[in-house]
Structure formats: C-alpha cells, structure tokens
C-alpha cells in the first residue's frame, strides 16, 4: 500500500507511520501544500497514493484546502473521487462544519484524534485497502 501521511505534529506523524508500517513505508508531508505537491508528482508518474491520511489544521495550507486540490487534480486526469486515493481525515477537529466540509469534498473517512490503532485498521478494511 502506497501511503502519504500529512501531519504537522511530529508525534502524530510518527504514530501513523508506525501503525501503517506493516503495510509498507509511508511518505510524509508536513502541510497541505507539500501534500498537494507530493500527490501531483505521484499522479504524473502514474503511481498515485492508495491512502492519504490528512490532518486539517496545519500551517501554509490546511487539510480541507489540500483535499479540494487533490480531488481537483484527480478530476483533471479523469479520475473520479470514488476511484482516486482513499483519503482519511485524521484531525482533532470534531465539529460538524469540518466533518461536513470534508465529506462534501469527497474524503472517504474521518477519524478524530487521538488515533486509535483499531479504528484506523477498521477504516482501512472498510476502504478495501487491507
């Protein structure tokens, strides 16, 4: 599984990396702008990410904005969101606005931090990634 972890906090990034390690090594980005760039390169190389774990509140570009841009890049290449990368929002923002906005912009799942290993693995199963 090719995964991208987008997270500005080092501890949270490391936790996700370790939980996902058994499925392969993950790439990391520390803000939305880096994530968009990483996804663009992956799409241009025809090696898209299977999974993107995307935090919301990050400097430079937040996760909601990155989500929109990632789905737009996929669409430009004729990839429907249902066939694109599986995007799990991993955030401590649990308010209805953020949840609704993320699903409106075609995230696939929403996990509220702190991330529980079992919750993450269940979502990966539901998304047919493992």
């Amino acid at each position: 599984m090719k995964a991208l972890i987008v997270e500005d906090d080092l501890t949270s990034r490391m936790l996700l990396q370790e939980l996902l390690r058994k499925f392969g090594n993950s790439h990391v980005a520390i803000n939305g702008a880096e994530a968009v760039e990483a996804v663009k390169i992956a799409l241009n190389n025809n090696e898209p990410y299977d999974l993107i774990c995307l935090d919301i509140m990050m400097p430079q570009m937040n996760g909601q904005e990155a989500l929109k841009k990632i789905r737009a890049m996929e669409e430009e290449r004729g990839i429907l969101s249902t066939r694109g990368s599986k995007i799990i929002m991993t955030t401590s923002l649990a308010d209805l606005n953020n949840v609704t906005s993320a699903y409106s912009n075609f995230c696939d799942a929403y996990i509220v931090k702190p991330v529980h290993g079992e919750t993450l693995y269940k979502e990966l199963e539901k998304l047919n990634l493992v």
């Binding site: 490391m14 936790l15 702190p114």
Partner: protein, 126 residues
C-alpha cells in the same frame, strides 16, 4: 470568568491516561515507548515557542501552536494537559489573551507533571 472559576474547571483530571494510550496502541509497549520518547523530545520546544507567542500576544500563532501540542499530548494520553491546551486554543480563537495568560501557568504545570510521569515510565522500562 474569574481566575478561580477559570482554574477550577480543570481539577481532578488524570495527568497521564496510560491505559488509554496502551489501548490506542494496541498493547504495543515498544510503540508506546517510541511515541513517548518522541513527545519528550519535541514537546518542550513547542512549549517554549508557545511561551514566546503568548509574550508577543500573537493569537493566530498561539492557536496553531497550541493545537499541535494538544494533538501530541493526546497521543500520549496527557489528559490534564490536553484539556487546558484545548481551552487555550478556544481562547485564542476568541481573541482572549487575558484569559490565556491566566491559564498558562496551569498549562505549564500540567506539562511538567506529564513530563515527570512519562520520564518515570521510561526509567522503569529500562
């Protein structure tokens, strides 16, 4: 809210929810140790940066910084610290620097308590 009211709402919270942390990490004590070690390296820098931002009164950056350190503390089960960090984040959102300054000593105390508990845990592991 008076200073006492402001501080009283945070009484009785667990400094460290070790059980919750281990559950989230699926009982993997090596993973827990790794995450704790990383937290103990990274969080003090974040706290120092936060102190400077509070001194400067930069509310936008306070919000961002405290949000990050709140997430990090949640990973290690630092409940008492996380709750105060959460309140500071909300106060930054509401542009209330005065209340942030009231809560900040408690945030620091909770951080030091958490540091101590985590350091003791690591010592006992070695």
């Amino acid at each position: 809210m008076s200073e006492n009211e402001s501080l009283n709402q945070f009484k009785g919270l667990a400094v460290w929810d070790d059980k919750g942390m281990m559950e989230r990490m699926l009982g993997d004590s090596d993973l827990a140790k790794l995450i704790i070690e990383q937290f103990l390296i990274d969080a003090p820098t974040q706290i120092d940066a936060l102190s400077e931002l509070i001194e400067k009164g930069d509310l936008a950056m306070i919000k961002q910084r405290v949000h990050a350190v709140k997430g990090a503390s949640a990973n290690v089960g630092g409940e008492a610290f996380r709750k105060v960090a959460c309140a500071v984040e909300e106060l930054a959102q509401n542009q209330d620097l005065e209340q942030i300054k009231i809560l900040y000593p408690l945030l620091l105390k909770n951080f030091k308590d958490l540091q101590e508990r985590l350091n003791n845990y690591l010592k006992n592991q070695n």
